[in-house]
């Protein structure tokens, strides 16, 4: 029988919260791979999310080399070999578990809020932001690795900020060139014939993005859960994760992907640029190439930033296409604020948990997170976006407000 102690309850809450984060990670990022295929009707909305979910599931199992050192890029709660710092593991790892709990809660709240607004924001930024906030609250500013040393890209600047500025620009240029080339080469081909051809190409490249997403993102949660298990003395290896953790994370991210963040899919597929199949294929090829090349060269980046840059690029690369820069601007604002705001929520959550103390504190943090999530979900029912209306004509926000007084935000 399991011995249900307060320490065990805290650990269980951290694991559940981590899986919940993995789930939001899944539905937030369905759009990265599938928004273009849904917008061009290469796949029906249901088929697209199903395909993407399966590939994420497969991808999650493919990542044997799990990043147990995932937090080392930005905060100092682990030793270089992945074991937690000894000063945090006293009392069954209470200090470390509370940091993880508060950080994950901050990340989840930010992920759901940006989903409500229909804005694609990076789930890795939200996770890092939440953890940084909780770490600063707990250990002070010195607990965070702000800038890496020398020329090895590391720390908040090298692993998060600089790639976030550079990667969308790179993806934009690649997709722009790809789109321009494709239209130039096929200009003598009848439009219907051209579009049907490219739908096939699009499905292939979108699948590649989904698979890469599963291998990259699921393992972040696996790393966090394994760290919690090590800190509480329930696991000792730093080169392997328990099998049940792998299964749970794979299922969480795949379920999230299947549920589909329709609001975000709509913004990326219809809101930024009206996408045709050739543009869709150029965008997905650009995303897949940039993601895979960067991972080969050890250049950390966010799938979300790359996918958005690619979609904007196909708009710039096609003559006469409209790019809604206002929507892109809102998105850019969300990117800039993701890390600090998730950090603020993470820090706030840590203080609440710390001041109340013990497993009661952790319970309150967990409860607050659930309440916030439920409230935002309830709010989303006012203007539902689902597979039935994801491809409806895009109405600019201000026009919509003049015509029908609905709640604000990108619909």
């Amino acid at each position: 029988m399991l011995n249900v102690t307060p320490e065990f309850i805290l650990l269980a809450l951290v694991v559940i919260t981590a899986l919940a984060f993995d789930f939001t990670n899944g539905f937030h990022d369905t759009a990265n791979a599938m928004a273009t295929s849904i917008a061009t009707k290469a796949l029906t909305p249901k088929a697209a999310v199903t395909l993407s979910a399966i590939l994420n599931l497969v991808g999650a199992f493919l990542s044997v080399e799990v990043a147990i050192t995932v937090t080392n890029a930005v905060i100092r709660i682990q030793n270089p070999d992945g074991t937690p710092k000894p000063e945090l593991t006293a009392d069954s790892g209470h200090a470390l578990l509370l940091i993880l709990m508060a950080g994950l809660a901050g990340a989840i709240i930010w992920n759901i809020l940006t989903w409500l607004w229909g804005l694609p924001s990076s789930s890795s930024h939200a996770l890092f932001g939440g953890l940084i906030g909780a770490t600063v609250a707990s250990m002070g500013w010195g607990g965070v690795k702000w800038v890496g040393e020398g020329t090895k890209l590391d720390g908040v600047i090298g692993k998060v900020v600089l790639p976030a500025l550079l990667s969308p620009a790179i993806a934009l240029v690649v997709a722009m060139v790809g789109t321009a080339l494709v239209y130039r080469i096929t200009r003598d081909v009848a439009e219907r014939y051209q579009e049907n051809g490219f739908r096939w190409g699009q499905i292939g490249t979108a699948s590649l993005v989904s698979l890469a997403h599963g291998t990259n993102d699921a393992q972040k949660t696996m790393g966090v859960i394994t760290l919690a298990l090590i800190a509480s003395g329930n696991w000792t290896q730093t080169h392997d994760v328990p099998f049940w953790v792998k299964v749970a994370c794979a299922l969480a991210i795949a379920t999230g992907t299947y549920i589909g963040g329709w609001r975000i899919i709509r913004t990326m597929g219809k809101g930024l640029v009206e996408i045709s199949p050739p543009q869709g294929m150029a965008a997905e090829s650009s995303s897949a190439a940039v993601i895979l090349v960067s991972s080969q060269l050890g250049f950390a980046l966010s799938t979300t930033h790359v996918a958005t840059g690619s979609i904007l690029g196909t708009g710039v690369g096609r003559k006469g296409a409209t790019v809604r820069w206002r929507v892109a601007g809102r998105m850019g604002l969300a990117w800039l604020t993701t890390l600090p705001l998730a950090g603020l929520v993470g820090a706030g959550m840590w203080w609440i948990g710390h001041l109340i103390g013990g497993s009661t504190g952790a319970f309150i943090v967990f409860g607050l997170m659930c309440l916030a999530a439920l409230y935002m979900w309830w709010h989303s029912r006012h203007d539902r976006v689902g597979h039935h209306n994801v491809n409806d004509e895009w109405v600019d926000a201000e026009k919509a407000q003049q015509e029908v007084p609905v709640s604000g935000g990108v619909r």
Partner: protein, 103 residues
Amino acid sequence: MDQLLAALDGAWRVLLAGLLLGAGLPAMFAFGVRALAWGTGGDAEIHADGVLPKAHLGGRIVAYTMFSLVVLAVLIGVGYITAHGLGYSITFNGIIPVITAKH
């Protein structure tokens, strides 16, 4: 400052390789679509009213060669993700990929 330079150094490599693969592959696919339209003839190509373009076998051969190359590239991509996830690293020595265990 070192970090910025390191990031820019990484960025131009990603840009170069990204352009080659990310813009090159759709371009090849586009050549395939173009060749297939020529190979199919009829309404696949934009043509003057009344004269339907003829079908060309050569066009179809070129098209399917192009498509096969793109499919091959996607399969290499899948292989790459798989190998990487299973703890192997791939180095491209020249063009032939060499798979080696990381540990």
